[in-house]
Symmetry: C2
Subunit: 391 residues, 2 copies
């Protein structure tokens, strides 16, 4: 074996931002002191700034699914009708959670690789004025498809329902105007665009959603929106906070602020677009071709080849971990992520490695052809106006 760096190229956990990792070493503080309250307050303030919202932001020691659970148990009541858009494994998770709490979900399903249209959401809302909520993934991580949350949000805003958006891989990879698009609850997790390890989830809560919390009759204890809001305002978390991760989040947010959220989104969009160009140059077929998101690009394995071979060869030959398909998509597709601490130079390497892996497995590949497609994308985006550099 030669040197093989471990490279995390999955849609989560994502490549980590080293200074955020190093910040975790400062965890030798107590969470009920002003030292930590200041850390916590500024992490919450920076998170709010980066998300560009005036809504409250609540932070939980949990994975993203915890905040999904919390958004149901804090805002709804048993028997309430809700619309669930499901276009993949994470849409199916909304179905499971809403059912677990006794809600009555109307399922708007799309085939894997497709997205649920705004029209279908509009029609479901029109059909039943009793609908209390609409649930969706901004970016369906299992297929790489993105939903039109702006269009859906505007449709939901005209009703009494609230719009609950799992944006766990959507944040940082697509524009999300939380306040103006009617995104009542937006859910995120630490191990995605925030480029830190898993363990933190958060939810933004609009005034309309807060009103729902007044009438919700579902039991909950650990995940308590009102309690968390009251404590958060004091720089405290309700229960023991994951201090190391909050220190990491603070460092990552300072970096994200230095880049700027629009540029972070553009980074993912450019990487995704360049990856689609590379796939086309190599004659590979995209899985979510009609509504591709920028968090992850799912690519079909070449005819007659199991995508698991590609995944295993990335690991074996290059120490790189990419994602296979999930469920029935396993063996059919492989997924290259574009979020977290991931730059163009990473993508050059990923596509060069992909070419070598395809070649080694008998696929007719011209070395450098996919890489050149990525280079052209980079040149178009970043080299349009070369600045003179002093020698």
């Amino acid at each position: 074996m030669y040197i093989q760096k471990q490279r995390l190229l999955t849609p989560g956990p994502t490549p980590l931002y080293p200074p955020a990792l190093h910040a975790m070493m400062a965890s030798d503080l107590h969470h009920r002191t002003d030292d930590f309250r200041n850390v916590y307050k500024s992490a919450l303030a920076d998170l709010k700034e980066v998300l560009g919202t005036s809504h409250d932001v609540l932070l939980f020691a949990a994975s993203g699914t915890g905040a999904m659970d919390a958004s149901v148990s804090n805002l709804f009541s048993p028997g309430e009708k809700v619309v669930v858009c499901s276009a993949g494994k994470f849409g199916e998770r909304w179905v499971e959670i809403t059912k677990a709490y006794g809600l009555d979900p109307v399922l708007l399903q799309a085939e894997y690789g497709q997205a649920v249209s705004v029209e279908r959401v509009q029609a479901a809302l029109d059909a039943d004025p009793a609908i209390r909520g609409v649930f969706v993934q901004a970016s369906e991580t299992s297929t790489g498809a993105a939903h039109d949350v702006q269009g859906m949000g505007e449709a939901v805003a005209k009703t009494q329902a609230i719009f609950v958006v799992d944006a766990i891989t959507g944040i940082g990879t697509m524009p999300l105007d939380i306040d103006n698009w009617g995104l009542d609850v937006v859910i995120g997790g630490s191990q995605k665009s925030f480029m830190i390890p898993p363990g933190l989830a958060f939810a933004t809560v609009s005034p309309k959603a807060w009103a729902f919390s007044e009438t919700s009759k579902l039991p909950h204890y650990y995940f308590d929106f009102k309690k968390e809001k009251k404590n958060g305002d004091k720089g405290e978390s309700s229960w023991t906070p994951a201090t190391s991760l909050i220190l990491a989040l603070g460092a990552a947010l300072r970096y994200i602020k230095s880049i700027g959220m629009p540029k972070l989104v553009e980074n993912a969009q450019l990487l995704a677009s360049a990856t689609r160009d590379a796939a086309a140059a190599l004659g590979l077929e995209l899985f979510a071709a009609s509504s591709p998101g920028s968090s992850v690009t799912a690519i079909r394995a070449p005819q007659g080849m199991d995508s698991g071979v590609i995944v295993k060869e990335f690991r074996k030959r290059f120490g790189a971990i990419i994602a296979n398909g999930q469920g029935s998509m396993k063996g059919q597709i492989f997924r290259i992520a574009h979020l977290g601490y991931f730059d163009f130079a990473d993508l050059f390497a990923v596509v060069a490695a992909l070419e070598l892996i395809l070649h080694a497995n008998g696929v007719d590949v011209e070395f450098g052809k996919g890489v050149a497609a990525v280079q052209r994308a980079y040149a178009r985006a970043a080299v349009q106006t070369p600045q003179p550099v002093a020698g």
Copy 2:
């Protein structure tokens, strides 16, 4: 600015091995305890194993230059005649050190980019039987040229002189049979192939060299070979050791042992050879074409272009730090390193970035052409016998 990872692509410091960095966090121990003695002993034992020598290995809290200094002040006496091979900035350092201690160096100089031949060393030894030592760089980092230390060592072994080899960037990038090639003193540093931060230097000492330490009349205190050997055998360092770096070294050595030194060397050789192929594919001229080493490849900037532009653009566009030329070579060449925690996927990215930088500065470059040369080198070396992989 988009996301730009900082990438250290210089011949030292080199890209760091993350588990070695993390091991530094265990520095909360005292260096005069058995806990640390065990760490120190096994680092010394692993270093000896990795270097493949039966000679004593001495470790110093110092940069590599410290061990160069020590090899003169511990083994020679004022007025003694020595041969110094100088083919770049580091050869010039041997001249400075030997003069600082009052030795009488016979200078065998080669032009920058060239190497000193074995024949010249042989002739100098033949011309003066009083020669007490021969000093050389295994790999001259400033130009990328390598010396034939095997041939030189065999010539020196037949004389009363000792052979002192600065292998700071040679170790891990070229075969070095310390015991059988007559390499009496071999000097290394932590921030090179050992993929950890700067701060540790070491020297191997042959029985022939130890005999020199008995007659040496030069004053020294901090760098004391005999004292360090005596203490090292007990798992101690003479003075306060750089504990964090020794913990890092231990972790890096475990990794290097898992790869194996011959494979680590092959890794650097393949990367260097692939880099030369890429330069040729892009019509770029190598600086040390006649005796290229594998620690670093120095490439001439295209006609009419300052190499500093390339260095600055790597930093500006890709967050990557590559080396310019030193001294009179500044502006003429740029240097891409192949040592440390550096793999093929890194090189794909470096060459793709180089193509983009050349293109952005008006050089006629076909995107992907240099990358394809690297891919072909990788495929020849590592993809000759594709193993079937279960799906």
